[in-house]
């Protein structure tokens, strides 16, 4: 096309409900601008589908600026597609070329059941957070100002790096074992590194790992795919930290 727009063949996972059987469906989409985001391309495809009177493709999305962690597509065999350090909403069609075939699938994991089409239920992550991913603070009005506690710069930086995890689940999706350890370790780390997280650090790591196992996620075998495909570049150094935290909490559960 003269204006640089692309014709694409899209193979999309369609599944009408959690219990229904799903399958890959083929779609042809023309006039895709390289300036579109991947989600805008899906919007365009849905527009075409709705005009035909068919059921639109369900997919998760919210902020569309790479910070909410809602978008979750497995594109051409990679979580959030071929680019590094970005979510699906920040992936642009200039990363593809005219005539490409693109496979689009939901996250695949026992812990992430498909709700519909490309949407999966990530409540397992919420339950892991509820099991210990928080700091119990006194909010009676005499709460200590967090900035009054001196924290070494290195610790603050590492805690912040871990806290950039948006809980999108790309680590689980890309892990050959469907392990959630990058997510859990980032949450464990951000608290373990800061003084506010210390009083509950042992029960936190024990409870969060227990919940993670109960949700049916796999075991980490240090393959390292998670840190490569994480849109926030969370390092598996955090998994090592969680391993240390858990080992010390198992040996001596009291603080």
């Amino acid at each position: 096309m003269s204006n640089g727009n692309m014709n694409l063949t899209l193979k999309v996972w369609r599944q009408s409900s959690n219990t229904a059987a799903g399958k890959m469906e083929n779609y042809q989409l023309g006039g895709v601008s390289p300036d579109m985001s991947f989600l805008e391309m899906i919007d365009m495809l849905n527009d075409q589908i709705i005009r035909k009177g068919e059921d639109a493709i369900a997919f998760d999305h919210d902020c569309r600026e790479g910070i909410c962690g809602m978008c979750s597509m497995f594109i051409n065999g990679e979580a959030h597609g071929p680019n590094r350090g970005v979510t699906t909403c920040q992936l642009h069609m200039r990363s593809f070329k005219d005539g490409d075939t693109i496979y689009i699938e939901p996250w695949r994991a026992e812990g992430f059941p498909v709700v519909k089409d490309l949407m999966v239920d990530r409540a397992a992550f919420d339950r892991i957070i509820q099991s210990g991913g928080f700091v119990s603070v006194n909010t009676s009005g005499r709460t200590m100002d967090a900035n009054a506690i001196p924290i070494p710069k290195d610790d603050a930086d590492k805690a912040f790096d871990a806290a950039t995890c948006i809980g999108c689940g790309a680590c689980v999706a890309t892990c050959p074992n469907s392990s959630a350890m990058l997510f859990v370790s980032a949450k464990v780390s951000q608290f373990a590194l800061l003084p506010q997280g210390h009083p509950e650090r042992k029960e936190r790591v024990l409870n969060m790992v227990k919940q993670m196992d109960e949700e049916g996620f796999g075991n980490c075998s240090n393959i390292g795919a998670c840190e490569v495909q994480c849109p926030k570049n969370i390092s598996i150094e955090n998994i090592a930290r969680m391993n240390r935290e858990y080992l010390s909490a198992s040996v001596k559960p009291e603080n």
């Binding site: 050959p176 074992n177 796999g218 393959i223 795919a225 490569v228 998994i239 080992l247």
Partner: protein
């Protein structure tokens, strides 16, 4: 909590038994390398005699088998649980974009090593511990003491080119298994820091190369008659 119920405890067992087996391989390769003195196997047979008769070593042998079995059982549990964690596979997956083939193939490589181990134990361990050596004469006198002639048994086994090929395939599987396993064990035990991660990786690479090349060179050297 249970010794095996938690995903992280399983990792610790995998790492601890793995490191134990890694340390065993150093001893095994070190003693076997005595054949390269090329003294008709005298030094090697003396060491073999010591390892076969020393009470501490023989007790540790039991620990070695227990460690090996634990490593295998734990590995199989991890493998089957991890398969269960993804009941529906991707229609199109590109794992090579984010990880190495050998890190994803530890169970397969481990199984190949196990098959090799069965053959290897039948070739040597079973003979020296149970059935007796097949080589004649099976013993040789060194300084007035009768020693099992394990060296001659090795020469006999590695006369067969098929055996040499099987041992080389075993070393190939072992190399990739160690290449990932060494650094992986440290990560599992929580030892990963930007200060020393590169040192661990380097040590693991050197270890995997040295051990597997050293082992592989033994059947080759004997088959080609460099060691006799």
């Amino acid at each position: 909590m249970g010794l095996f119920t938690s995903s992280l405890i399983k990792k610790y067992w995998m790492a601890a038994t793995g490191l134990f087996l890694i340390s065993f391989l150093v001893v095994h390769a070190g003693i076997n390398a005595m054949i390269f003195f090329n003294d008709g196997g005298q030094t090697f047979n003396e060491w073999g005699h010591f390892m076969g008769t020393n009470l501490i070593v023989r007790t540790m042998e039991i620990g070695l088998f227990l460690g090996l079995i634990l490593h295998i059982v734990d590995g199989l549990m991890l493998y089957f649980q991890n398969r269960k964690a993804r009941p529906i596979k991707y229609a199109y997956n590109k794992p090579s974009a984010s990880s190495t083939w050998y890190s994803r193939s530890m169970a397969l490589l481990g199984t190949l090593i196990l098959i090799f181990l069965v053959i290897h134990l039948k070739d040597f361990w079973l003979k020296t511990r149970v059935t007796g050596l097949t080589v004649m004469p099976s013993h040789v006198k060194i300084d007035g003491v009768m020693h099992e002639n394990l060296f001659a048994e090795m020469l006999l086994v590695f006369k067969n080119p098929m055996a040499v090929v099987i041992y080389l395939l075993g070393c190939f599987s072992l190399f990739w298994h160690l290449f990932h396993g060494f650094r992986s064990a440290f990560q599992s035990l929580g030892l990963n820091h930007r200060k020393y991660a590169s040192t661990i990786e380097l040590a693991g690479s050197v270890y995997a190369v040295v051990i597997s090349v050293l082992f592989a060179s033994m059947p080759v050297a004997m088959y080609l008659g460099w060691v006799k």
